[in-house]
């Protein structure tokens, strides 16, 4: 399976996701933001980091990078695109997924483990996972998901919410909301479910020696789904 990770100036999780994808069997390529064409890929990942220093607005300048034209075409023709953290911020700036990501409610960067509950498994990202609640890691300053009431109705009706922040038992109270996200939303899909944006970093959880290994379950399942 072929994957591509796009490196923008200021991306800093490009190596981490490259390591994770490679570890679980993808043949991955790092693609420079200034290239014209995406290489042939089964999955494209927009990594975390601070593309263009997050100046202006997180993800905004990266969303206008040269490679993005090719990426948007790829996504619109059904290609799998996953944006993690800054990658999610870039995706909302392109409009490929709905909503915006505001500054965290308590105005502070948060780096910690959280639990998320997978909401929709009818897609290639989460299909066949044998559990619903995962321990992932977050590290962001602008992960506070927001959208209009109409948009919310629409994404709920279309099953576009990918995951909610919750506790270890899957309770999605405000108490377990690390950043103030609307309805504890941690990730969303586009309407067709081939584009996924999420704040948590599965690539930081691929080994028991790290913060945990729920990320390993996610990637193993992902490559099997794509095969």
């Amino acid at each position: 399976m072929k994957s591509s990770v796009i490196t923008f100036p200021g991306s800093n999780c490009d190596r981490d996701i490259h390591v994770a994808l490679t570890k679980f069997g993808f043949i991955n390529r790092l693609v420079w933001h200034n290239d014209n064409e995406l290489p042939k890929s089964d999955l494209v990942v927009l990594p975390g980091g601070f593309s263009y220093g997050d100046y202006l607005r997180c993800g905004s300048m990266a969303s206008k990078s040269k490679i993005m034209k090719s990426l948007i075409n790829f996504a619109k023709s059904g290609g799998m695109v996953m944006g993690i953290c800054n990658g999610f911020q870039i995706l909302v700036e392109t409009g490929l997924v709905p909503g915006v990501l505001l500054r965290n409610k308590y105005l502070e960067f948060i780096c910690k483990n959280v639990f998320i509950k997978i909401q929709n498994k009818e897609n290639l990202y989460f299909k066949n996972l044998n559990k619903d609640i995962f321990e992932f890691h977050i590290a962001h300053n602008e992960g506070n998901y927001f959208c209009t009431r109409d948009q919310l109705n629409e994404i709920e009706d279309n099953n576009q919410i990918a995951a909610y922040y919750c506790n270890i038992n899957g309770k999605t109270d405000e108490k377990y909301n690390p950043n103030g996200s609307l309805k504890n939303i941690a990730g969303v899909f586009n309407k067709e479910k081939n584009v996924l944006g999420m704040m948590p970093h599965p690539e930081r959880m691929i080994d028991q020696s790290l913060s945990g290994d729920d990320g390993a379950l996610f990637f193993k399942n992902l490559i099997n789904n794509i095969k």
Partner: protein, 729 residues
């Protein structure tokens, strides 16, 4: 502008220093030249008050590749890998402008490390604030934490450990010390020594602006009420540009184009160009019109003294300019050939076709002033006669709760949760343990690092305090199963012109030297920060020690959280009941006098090495060193982290319970072992003459002392975790 004694004084140069400059030049310097002298001769760059004492520190060891004198120290970690590391202060700017001061401190130290060809793999910091009740403390703390996070997080380098303390002696002078570790191949280390004539001198990175002019001079003076006016001397950081600079430099370094490279840190273009030429015993010629400037009409004086961040100076091989330019273009960074190396042994500056400075480089470096300042020896304070019967009125749990929620003991999670500590995917021990640990990417090895200081002990008796900090750093590495290799030191003191402060410096350095020599734990890099002083009041002497150790197989790393019910808990090292200068004495008895606990280096080494061997044998399930707050505080933290309880069954001895639990004798650890291993462990410790004592057994969720005193771990946890969170609301 005409230069005279008065102008020189405004540049922080003393009368006799100005006289010496005129003698060396055999003429009066012009204003640009005077600026260059003031930048090179200030305390921050010249180490003029500290040099003769620093020479006494042990700097060699079998794993030392590079000791002090380069951008950072380098140690060998086998298999062709090396670790580059250093700690540096950014105290003065952080007090004036906490966010930018702290941020550029982090940026500066990372540049020191990647200048040598190493990719930064971990950041640490040691930050010290005034009393929590002081009106500035909260904002300074928030600003500094945001600044450290803002820079390090954007760079994508995990912040893996640190230390925070509060003490009223920092009310007017906070301390912000930043440390970075980088990983490099032994045969790809870059140095700052220029070589060869007519080699192009290249400027890369950000443009030069008017920020930070005289930053190094500002850091070489005490504060007074007009300190706010110095805000323009604080640099402004741009971590995004630094991230690009890091990637571009490492890309260029993968080839063989670079002869020498030096970052523009304190005193910017001045010190970087002079250092490279001086080390290569060469001259250097710079055309200032070629320097990329952010603002118009900058004068030679401003260009030379600007401390704009994210800039590097490189001496390239001839003919490699195009190749190098391509790389910097790709990363959207400025690139300019601004000069060349010469055989004049002078620094010659040109501007608009005129020569605007011409100074023999040796006058700036070798002939810089060196002082043997007057200093006062301190006496070991007499032991306090503490009325021990007052102890009987104290309840252990009341004292413990007070100490766990004390600002210098309590959890600093509010701080480190704002630092990305997991990016790069190799952090295997997060902040909050004895050391932070990162794997050497793609190998079985891991590197442990910690940063420590004990200002109270140093203040009570600098010689003992100096030894103690090194020993504590050693213990923090040992506790996670790392073999200690070397240290970097950040020596934060008051004014060297005051003989008490100078005495504290001299004796702390002596203590550091003695301990690091005995423990074979050499000093490979560091930084001195004097003048941490507002008017006549200096800070408590605060040498911060950053220690680095190697774990050969990361799977053998140990953490401090209690693991399993029914396991046994032992202490290593002898408890003798030293109460003076302990947290207990200061917080509970309000007693500030007396000597700090004694350091027995033989025991330190023996206890530490024995514990390392037990860890190597796989017999240790958790370990933690005993420090502030004594045995019971250490045990409580292990319970809280592991969410386990303990039943403590103290042996009957002559010591009062309070002394036993809260004394701060040194060289001690708490360990957890399996019951079945008890014999093997105690036999081993006995054989090696290591004092040990059985303290209790791990149970569920409760601490029970001598069967009658009980408290839940949840309750202890709330005391431990809530103070800082509540304080910052």
């Amino acid at each position: 502008m005409l230069v005279n004694e008065k102008v020189a004084e405004e540049h922080g140069l003393k009368k006799d220093e100005y006289k010496k400059i005129c003698e060396l030049l055999k003429r009066i310097p012009n204003i640009t030249e005077l600026g260059i002298f003031s930048a090179m001769w200030n305390e921050h760059c010249s180490y003029k008050s500290s040099k003769i004492h620093l020479k006494k520190l042990p700097t060699k060891g079998e794993r030392v590749i590079q000791g002090p004198g380069e951008n950072a120290g380098v140690i060998d970690i086998d298999d062709g890998d090396a670790i580059v590391f250093k700690i540096e202060s950014h105290n003065h700017p952080s007090f004036i402008e906490p966010y930018q001061g702290a941020a550029t401190g982090v940026g500066g130290i990372m540049r020191d490390v990647f200048t040598m060809g190493a990719r930064p793999i971990a950041n640490l910091n040691s930050i010290h604030f005034g009393s929590p009740q002081h009106k500035k403390t909260k904002n300074l703390l928030r600003g500094v934490v945001h600044g450290i996070g803002g820079y390090g997080n954007c760079m994508g380098v995990p912040t893996i450990a640190g230390q925070t303390s509060f003490d009223s002696s920092y009310n007017g002078n906070i301390l912000v010390n930043a440390m970075t570790l980088g990983l490099v191949k032994k045969n790809k280390i870059f140095f700052s020594k220029a070589a060869g004539l007519n080699k192009p001198v290249i400027y890369v990175g950000s443009k030069t602006g008017r920020d930070g002019i005289h930053g190094a001079s500002m850091a070489s003076a005490s504060f007074d009420e007009k300190i706010e006016e110095k805000k323009p001397t604080v640099q402004v950081g741009d971590p995004f540009t630094e991230k690009l600079l890091l990637e571009a430099c490492l890309e260029l370094m993968s080839g063989d184009s670079i002869i020498a490279i030096q970052d523009m840190g304190a005193a910017g273009l001045t010190s970087s160009s002079i250092e490279m030429a001086s080390k290569g015993n060469l001259g250097i010629e710079i055309n200032l019109n070629e320097v990329p400037c952010r603002e118009t009409k900058m004068t030679p004086y401003e260009i030379m003294l600007s401390e704009s961040q994210e800039r590097m100076l490189i001496v390239l091989e001839n003919g490699k300019e195009e190749l190098a330019k391509k790389i910097f273009d790709k990363w959207n960074l400025d690139f300019a050939v601004i000069g060349k190396t010469t055989n004049s042994k002078n620094i010659e500056l040109f501007f608009e076709g005129n020569q605007v400075a011409n100074i023999p480089i040796n006058t700036l470096v070798e002939n810089s002033p060196m002082y043997d300042r007057k200093w006062k020896k301190s006496k070991l304070p007499k032991k306090n006669k503490i009325q021990k019967d007052t102890f009987n009125e104290l309840k252990i749990l009341d004292v413990l709760k007070k100490l766990l929620s004390n600002q210098n003991v309590c959890s600093k999670e509010w701080i480190w949760q704002q630092y990305d500590h997991t990016v790069m995917g190799d952090t295997i021990q997060k902040p909050g343990g004895d050391s932070g640990v990162v794997r050497v990417h793609g190998t079985e090895k891991a590197i442990a690092a910690s940063v420590d200081s004990s200002a109270v002990y140093c203040w009570a008796h600098p010689l003992t305090g100096g030894k103690q900090v090194v020993a504590e750093s050693w213990r923090n590495l040992v506790s996670v199963g790392a073999t200690p290799i070397a240290i970097t030191n950040c020596l934060n003191f008051g004014s060297p012109e005051n003989k008490e402060n100078m005495g504290e410096f001299v004796e702390c350095v002596e203590g550091i030297g003695e301990a690091s020599k005995y423990l074979n734990f050499p000093v490979v890099s560091g930084n001195v920060s004097f003048y941490n002083q507002t008017k006549e009041i200096g800070i408590k002497p605060t040498p911060a020690i950053g220690g680095v150790g190697l774990i050969k197989n990361y799977k053998k790393m140990v953490t401090m959280d209690f693991k399993e019910v029914d396991n046994l808990v032992l202490s290593i090292g002898k408890t003798e009941g030293h109460i003076d200068q302990s947290l207990f004495a200061r917080v509970i008895l309000d007693e500030k006098n007396g000597p700090p606990p004694e350091i027995n280096l033989f025991n330190e080494k023996n206890n530490g090495e024995s514990l390392l061997n037990l860890i190597e044998k796989g017999l240790i399930k958790s370990a933690h060193d005993v420090s502030l707050g004594g045995i019971i505080t250490a045990i409580s933290k292990m319970c809280i982290k592991g969410n386990k309880g303990i039943e403590i069954r103290k042996k009957k001895n002559l010591m009062n319970n309070i002394e036993f639990f809260f004394s701060e004798d040194q060289g001690r650890y708490i360990i957890e072992i399996k019951q079945k291993d008890l014999k093997e462990v105690t036999n081993y410790l006995n054989k090696n003459s290591v004092h040990h004592e059985q303290l209790g057994v791990i149970i569920e969720k409760e601490m029970i002392i001598d069967k009658k005193t009980k408290v839940t771990i949840d309750e202890l946890k709330s005391y431990y975790t809530n103070w800082l969170k509540n304080y910052m609301i």
